[in-house]
Amino acid sequence: MIEELRNKARELLKTKQVEAVIGYQRASDGLSAIPCVIRSEEEAGRLIWDAACVYNLCGYLKDFRAKKLGIVAKACDVRAMIVLISENQLNRDDVFIIGMECCGVVDEKRARVSGRDGSDISSADKCKSCASCVPLAYDCLIKEKREKAKVSEDADKDKYEPVRKLEAKSLSEKSKSWKDEFKRCIRCYACRQVCPMCYCPRCVADQFMPVWFSKAGGIEGNFSWNVARAMHLAGRCIDCGECERACPVGIPLRDINRKIEKDIKELFGYEAGMKTDAKPFLACFDKNDPEDFIK
């Protein structure tokens, strides 16, 4: 599978179909992956593909606007690209998607927290509720050689079960538990930087006239930052789980994202990045949309 990927990258670079290929190479620890950009045929041997390739590489596309690029992408990464295309942030003709059939990636975060090296850690949580191992769109597909590429046994289960559990809590319980979570936030903005959907040239959190989310004293700033981040992803988040993975202090950010995702799915039947020709969620008003939740 890796050779197939490398050959494809070589071919794309040789025939000048792309200027560079964004992919994964081995990190210094010999086990994890690190994003890399391949600009020549000789470098293509550095590309790797395995369960350590956790990152969503779409964010790097904005470093190369208006250039023709190849990108190594899993099913969830392609969902992100579909949203970016629908929001006019990416031109479909500018990317050559090397789709990878994916059986789930490792839970790199759990490995880090428990001090293990990751080789004995099962799939990431996001993979457990993922139903598709083949990307929705691609220019070429590199198939998994293993017997049956299936992401997860749990895919058919109710994937919003954790969200329902949260919803069942009382208002004061919810408030307390989120305050406990957000007091740890160090405002490193890793969640924003790693998010493929956070592409604003100037984030509202970086504005200081006025300051919207103060870093000074108390947790109010942390609270509003985390809530605003999630709300800006309403109808756009494709649950790649990168924010939660990147968060160094372990705030369960996916829970907030998925609560919004679930509401939108139940109310409007919309799922971000699942149809290549869909309009952005907030751009598709329909007069039959339910409005009984507006009070």
Binding site: S32, C188, A246
Partner: protein, 358 residues
Amino acid sequence: MPALIKMTLRILLNRVKTDTLLKKNMTKFIKKEDLYKLLNSFLKDFEIIGPKQIANKGIFYEPLESIEDLYLGELFAIEPAKKFFLESSECLFHSGFLDGKATVQDAPLPDKRRIIIGLRPCEAKGLILLDKVFDSEYKDRSYINNREKSVIVGLACAKPDKSCFCTSMDGSPTGSRGMDVLLFAVEDGFIVEIYSDKGKEAFSSLGKEPDEHQNKTLSAYKQKRSELIGKNFKVPGDLSPIFESDYWDKVSFPCLSCGVCTYLCPTCHCFELVDEGRKMYRCNDGCAFSNFTLEASGWNPRPTKKERYRQRVFHKFDYFKKIFGENLCVGCGRCIRHCPVKMDISEIVSNAPSGAGK
């Protein structure tokens, strides 16, 4: 030459203050339950801060309400103990009006003494490096107060992580620099080395002299731990010839421009000042952020991650070394462990091209 004289003076001024250090280290042996009993008895006079294991999140330094929560195991805390000395957000002063006149008042300093337990040798060394900035020519009242009020009780590393590289930064998993007391976890308790008056005051009353067997264990422990550090490299003496190199473009590609590495670093100390009502706060800031050097005119001298990542490396391994004589890095490996895209500063520095050019 004046620059050189100034530099030498600075280095002299910044030498560790030896007056508080004991002439001869004291070594003791304490059983685990005795140590916990002792710490319990400190709870009413001291604030006790130590690592605590939090499910699904990892290890965090927190003020402990009960000594039972104290975690003295192998895993490393995610945030360094730096946050108790250089707080992530801290009120410096507040202004007001009194009898028709404008007043400015310094924020009150906490006066409760505290014991910070479980610091690793790399973090304690980080405090010595911060002293060079906040307790030398410029005296930072709140930082110095935090330092004076704290007894540092370290814990020698039992099992270094694969991202640790303290030995390449002139440190050691059993180093005593910056410690008042250092604990070595051995089979049935802790061997305790006491280095300072502060440490002696708190810890000399307990335990007994270690026997010969325990002394042997201690010296074997010290030797073995350094050998467990997998990463070993030499920092290039002078990075300035490669300032303009393409190398920085290449290695900074994966960087997300987030603040994980700077905020979790035991030595990074950049900050910004934030007005909040009539209070002036000092808050964490980091050179990896794109708006760190953004000027009011709209011009940004470090517009891309290449310049920003290079700044981080140069501050640590070039500028600071030229002024204070050592690297602004203790090799704790946090920036490697927690980097969302697994960038490795040790690899980047050790592979830096030696000459000018590409």
